[in-house]
Amino acid sequence: MAEFRFQINGEQAVVDATPDTPLLWVVREQLGLTGSKFGCGMGLCGACTMHMDGQAIRSCSMPVQLVDGKTVTTIEGLSGGDELHPLQQAWIDQNVPQCGYCQSGQIMSAASLLARDPNPSDDAIRSAMSGNICRCGTYSRIHKAIKQAASAQVSGVWEPPQSASDALAAEQREVQA
């Protein structure tokens, strides 16, 4: 057992776990954030998708040891406040979810896509989202919702919240480029 510290949804987390404990279980069991789901334990289904330093990761296969000092965002922290993220609003407008179990992971993968490609093509959407399984078959609505959110963002309706560490990371990337 060891202690690990990381930012999660804008707050500092301090956890005790064995270094190989997947981030998913630390988040669900120790931090009580159950929005991210367990589907396969092998990074094959995407139900556990979270963001680590702005990148989508499969938290069921991410040992907490590698999260030390990093910034994590889960579905609970996606909107950064009271307003829904455009993707979440689009998910509701399009009646995307059926059983809903995969949808946290779908939204987190989609958010990661839109963060790096704000106006993705149909092929880019399919490719980026092919890691997330939906057994209920909501794929076509997920696709529509991503397009709706993309056009909402492009039209300037919503700004992503930028935390201090995000800004720092962005600066560092610029410096290294």
């Binding site: 069991e29 159950t34 059983c99 179990y101 209920c136 794929y139």
Partner: protein
Amino acid sequence: MSRVNRRSFLKFSALAGGGISLGFALGGCSDSPASLPDSAEGAVQPNAFLQLTPKGQLILQLHKAEMGQGVIESMTTLAGEELNWDPNTIEVQFAEFHPEFRDPEMMLMTTGGSSSLRTSMPIVREAAASLAHVLKAAAGRHWSVDASRIVLQDGEVIYGTERLPVAALVPTAINEPLPETVSLKPAAQFRFIGKRSVRHDALKKSTGTADFGIDSGPSDAAVAVLVRCPYFGGKLKSFDAGDLKQQADIIDVLEVNGGVAVVANGYWPARKAANSLSVEWSKGPLAGTSADTIRQQQRALLDDKDGLERLEKGEEPEAGGVTVVREYFAPILAHATMEPQNAVAVVSGDSAEIWCPNQGPDGVQGAVARALGIDPSNVTVNSCFLGGGFGRRLVPDYAVEAALIAKAVDRPVRLIWSREDDTRHDFYRPPATIRFTAQLNNGRIESFRSKLVAPGIYASMTPWIAGAALPPWVPGAVPETLGSLVAYVDPPAGEGINDSDYEFGYQEARFVRQKLPLPLGFWRSVGHSHNGFFMESVMDELAHEAKADPLQFRIDHLPEDSPRRRLLDMIQAAGEWGNAPAGQFQGIAVHESFHTKVAQVATVSVENGQIKVHRVFCAVDCGLAVNPDVVQAQIEGGIVFGLTAALKGEITLEDGRVQQSNFHDYPMMRMNEIPEVEVQVLASSEPPTGVGEPGLPPIAPAVANAVFAATGQRLRELPLRLANS
């Protein structure tokens, strides 16, 4: 007061357009308010379904499992319609077991068979109309006018220019006598039925705040995993826990229910410890059995056994024309719900409380009670959102496991199955082989014989159903229950064949039961899941043999007034048949399951030995579409689910154990593989029929038929695999 016989619901056709109902939910006399579920303090509660609180909040008990198929939408729409009340403002609670929630056909509080909306249509509407009645009666009393002068709308009662919020009437409405009969709103006045609505649960499911089984129950419960015998019917011989029990995060390692339970303070330590156990098992009756063995056994039974005649109709024709013999096969399949099985159990003395995803709380009660040796009425079952059901959650094996582990370690336990557990310990869709022998003469099928070989589902399911069917408070219901189940499910092996409305000169259907001690269960669309493929493939082969257009051939073999024929007409009228783009080819299938008729045209291309499905056009007859958007979603969902079965998945055994484990070897359709899907629903005012399963059976044959058109290869097995691919 005795309840009107629920079988008379069949007369509901008179009710779709309004009119007087037959009294299903109007049971005030036999159930005092104290016996109704989850009563809010001071609420008006005319029946188990609905209550109106003193603050004017309308609460609906959801008596069906929400597994994504939209029962929340169905029931709130029905209730909202009769109360003239925005369905989205109705608070929904997952109901605990109550006798009023028993399904009238299945006799249990079960969700399945695409039946929830169909059977609940009169029941929930009446329950709401009954509440509307007492509110109007109370308003009438308040204004000293006849209740018929009162309008109930959007949470207010209105008399002329006077209005009152319904909350004001709650104290007096409680004392209003319940009606003997109620009028239901005529279709012409529907505000909510038939309209698109925003899903109640969309916000929760888009923000990670919907609680599934795996999220429910006491958060400080210990976490358990169970190591089960990988050989079906095998036994635990020995296990060595080493020094696992001494580890700080391990609570116990012990034998439970024929397996080895590892109980820890979190999933990861429990799973790691379980993976490090050395366990010896005996192999059980399926030792040496492989996928090939099962297929060979089925082929041998096809040749050696006559089996049972399940259907014979028409006149055997004279010899003549051409005889066509074809055999098809469909493999074992797993459900693969996205949420693996799980349950939380708190057991103390002679009572237990369970939290789990389930398709029947009384099934969970009965099974847990039997396992613990306690009274079912002392088992509380808390339901939740299901991360997929598909028939898997009809079997409460995981709840029993959690209860037994909790009892053994004397503390609350959350049991979590891994994906590997889930894939290897399912109640599978049975494998099936069929032989058709048809006589074709002058373009007509004069004789159509089928012999189906499959293991029966009931041997596997009956013990679990019996647990729910034997609650002490309804002793007389046991044979009725089991009988109803048989009648309801309509022996699944032959469904879609024995009940087909194709007009053959002569039809005979036989069934040979294979004895296969494999846990089997209801998998989305059940017997139709393989029989749809079998029937619509052989019809296609016969069409080609007759050198007829496949769509026209089917029309020619359907009665004039067949709803399936109307759907084929719809497809032609929409120009969806015979218009494939260059390089793409089409296949057609039309099938009825669970009272709903579905026709599909799949447009497919074959490139480098790979089947690519470009488009599926689907025509649906499901009666009145209460929630049209839910119909669209379910049919498309069924198509995608069916495409996984058509193109990808099979469960195979080797030496009596399942070879597959996770999504790398039991793959699912992904977003980059799905076709464009268009669904057209036939406008209808007939009573609604279900859409959870009916989208599935036609897709495999539609695709297989298109593959034949593309390549000349006739694929008679699922999943579809081209030669030399």
